[in-house]
């Protein structure tokens, strides 16, 4: 199976015999990752989606939020219709005559932005707190972990709803809410790994060398805690994107001026009943593809990075 997928990626050259003896951890990782065709499909799909989102302004056929380009006469056209100006709306238009394809690509941009930014911040905050809890133990540990336990006993969506009911709408507020919802996962993951790592001999050696706390934590402990953290972070990006979409759909997420995929779907809801499905359907497909691609990559990462599952 791997031979068939290999030509899809530059990694293919790594599979050739002459590269075999110069094996680095990264190369081995790449080869292992490429061994699953499904994971490669997920990775390519995700890269495609991410690139489309990043370069949205240059690739979309129409700027969906430049009102001058919209023609209300083109409103609610089904997929494949031609506009008055002769342009084909591949995925149809919404009630204001907006090209759905362009709106979706812009929506992806906001969804991915919110998802990745919130994950990065939550990772930094949660990861540091978890590391501190594990390294210092005692009161620091019990306070941090008590908060984590209590928070994790409530479903993420409920916590996010409460927070947004308090904060109100806004991209920045959604990001803050998602960070607060997610940090606890990272804190728990890192603490768990760090507690195991801390008992290993290289940590003992590091403290015998009288290295500074900072150096021990960041140069010795942290790198060894990364693998499970990476796996959790990958899965959490998908979770964050789904959660943001849900919140926006419920009307407590991003504002109308910056519509993410969730908001696009909400906007199309009322038209769906009369069979004009495409306004809700296609943004949802984009959302699902983004989530699935990330999950596929995450599954494979977990299989590779989790030595317990490997054996």
């Amino acid at each position: 199976m791997s031979e068939q997928t290999a030509p899809l990626e530059p990694i293919a050259s790594d599979l050739s015999p002459e590269a075999g003896f110069a094996e680095t951890p990264w190369r081995r990782f790449a080869v292992e990752f490429a061994s699953s065709r499904l994971a490669m499909v997920g990775l390519l799909l995700f890269l495609g989606i991410a690139l489309a989102a990043i370069f949205a302004p240059w690739i979309v056929p129409q700027d969906p939020y430049d009102l001058a380009q919209l023609d209300i006469m083109d409103g609610q056209l089904p997929p494949g219709s031609a506009s008055l100006a002769g342009y084909t709306y591949l995925l149809g238009t919404d009630d204001q005559g907006r090209d759905m394809l362009s709106a979706i690509i812009y929506g992806l941009r906001i969804s991915l932005l919110v998802g990745s930014v919130s994950v990065v911040i939550a990772l930094l905050v949660g990861g540091s707190l978890g590391l501190l809890a594990a390294y210092f133990g005692g009161a620091v540990d019990s306070v941090i972990m008590r908060v984590v336990d209590i928070q994790l006993s409530f479903p993420a969506i409920l916590v996010a709803l409460i927070l947004l009911a308090i904060f109100g709408n806004g991209v920045d507020k959604v990001i803050i809410a998602l960070v607060i919802v997610q940090w606890a996962y990272y804190a728990r993951t890192v603490r768990g790994t760090a507690l195991v790592e801390r008992r290993k001999e290289y940590m003992e050696a590091a403290s015998c060398l009288a290295l500074s706390h900072r150096r021990i934590v960041f140069r010795h402990l942290l790198p060894n805690c990364l693998p499970p953290l990476i796996v959790v972070a990958t899965v959490q990006i998908a979770q964050a994107i789904a959660l943001e979409a849900t919140l926006s759909f419920l009307g407590v997420g991003v504002p109308i001026t910056e519509p993410s995929l969730g908001l696009l779907i909400a906007n199309g809801f009322e038209y769906m009943m009369s069979g004009r499905y495409w306004i809700s359907f296609f943004p949802g497909v984009a959302l699902v593809l983004a989530i699935i691609s990330i999950n596929l990559v995450g599954d494979q990462l977990r299989d590779i990075l989790n030595p317990r599952l490997k054996s």
């Binding site: 006993s153 969506i157 998908a238 849900t246 407590v252 769906m272 009943m273």
Partner: protein
């Protein structure tokens, strides 16, 4: 054990208290309900009277004090919008949510176990792989969009089931319920399915993993060696073994079912507490939001406490560790 119970109980009450204060103070910071509630054309005197009647003129800490005092008595104030006591509104809506959650739980349990069992017995067959692929898809579908698609397929295109609402209800044990009429069932089916799919996928995974493990165990071989029929081996020997983890997890998920009902109820216009919450957030109906959150937090605290207690009873190691701590 008693010490543990008391400590755990005290902790729960503390959580409840902190949450209540946080929520109240937080909600206080949101917008000004006066703008929404009071007729802009009313004169200043009328506005002032309304503000005083609602207690919105008092400083934050006094409002909090009044709120806490009343909350202990179960009084969360009157809804700004409906004029009725907030807790009362929620409690009249609660049976709808509960009914939805229970039906969804039943669907996820029954179908999840059946599919999981099948996939576990035939992991390499097309059917088994299809079930697993489906469960992965079910994990990835955002709940609200999945609901829209159910409506699109079963209500809009096929026209088999209604798209929303609760339909005909009948009185049962003092509550309005849907499950006694055909019309009620036709209305509850889609939202319950929507709520159930995610949990069903969870149960499928658990049941499949359990089945695959159980199928390799000696007690299954021994059961075969006794000459039992495959039917009895699967439905008694394997099923009974996988039910323990499945039931535990599903019990734990009851709470998140109620939380996720917010999404499903909004999509299907199901008149439960979840939809009420969203409406109240949008309309800045503070008393209802606060009452909902306090009630939900309360339910969660109870569920978590119960689960912890059951665990400590079931697993002697947990009990020991807690007593020592």
């Amino acid at each position: 054990m008693l010490v543990y119970l008391i400590r755990r109980l005290a902790q729960s009450i503390l959580v409840l208290l902190v949450m209540a204060v946080l929520v109240f103070v937080g909600i206080f910071a949101v917008g000004n309900p006066v703008d929404v509630l009071i007729n802009p054309e009313a004169d200043l005197q009328e506005q002032q009277a309304t503000i005083e009647r609602l207690g919105l003129d008092l400083p934050l800490h006094e409002q909090l004090f009044v709120f806490m005092g009343n909350a202990v008595k179960g009084d969360f104030g009157r809804s700004f919008l409906h004029g009725e006591p907030a807790m009362e509104i929620i409690l009249t809506r609660l049976p709808a949510t509960m009914e939805l959650a229970v039906v969804a739980l039943a669907i996820s349990l029954v179908f999840g176990v059946l599919f999981g069992l099948w996939a576990g017995l035939k992991p390499y067959a097309f059917s088994g792989k299809t079930i697993m692929a489906g469960s992965i898809l079910g994990f990835s579908l955002p709940n609200f969009w999945q609901g829209l698609m159910l409506i699109l397929i079963f209500a809009v295109f096929l026209g088999w089931l209604p798209a929303g609402g609760r339909g005909e209800t009948t009185e049962f044990l003092g509550m309005r319920v849907s499950f006694l009429t055909a019309d009620g069932w036709s209305h509850i089916l889609l939202p319950a399915l929507n709520l159930a799919i995610f949990k069903m996928c969870l149960v499928i995974r658990l049941a499949r993993a359990g089945t695959r493990e159980a199928a390799l165990q000696d007690y299954v071989k021994f059961a075969r060696a006794k000459g039992l029929s495959p039917r009895r081996i699967v439905l008694v020997h394997i099923l009974k073994n996988i039910m323990i983890p499945v039931v535990t997890v599903v019990g734990l998920e009851l709470g998140s079912m109620i939380a996720f009902a917010v999404v499903t109820e909004t999509v299907f216009a199901w008149p439960g507490i979840g939809k009420l919450l969203i409406d109240s957030i949008v309309n800045l109906d503070r008393p209802v939001v606060v009452a909902y959150l306090v009630l939900t937090v309360f339910m969660f605290v109870i569920i978590n406490l119960t689960v912890d207690l059951i665990y400590s009873v079931l697993d002697p190691r947990v009990r020991l560790a807690e007593v020592k701590a």
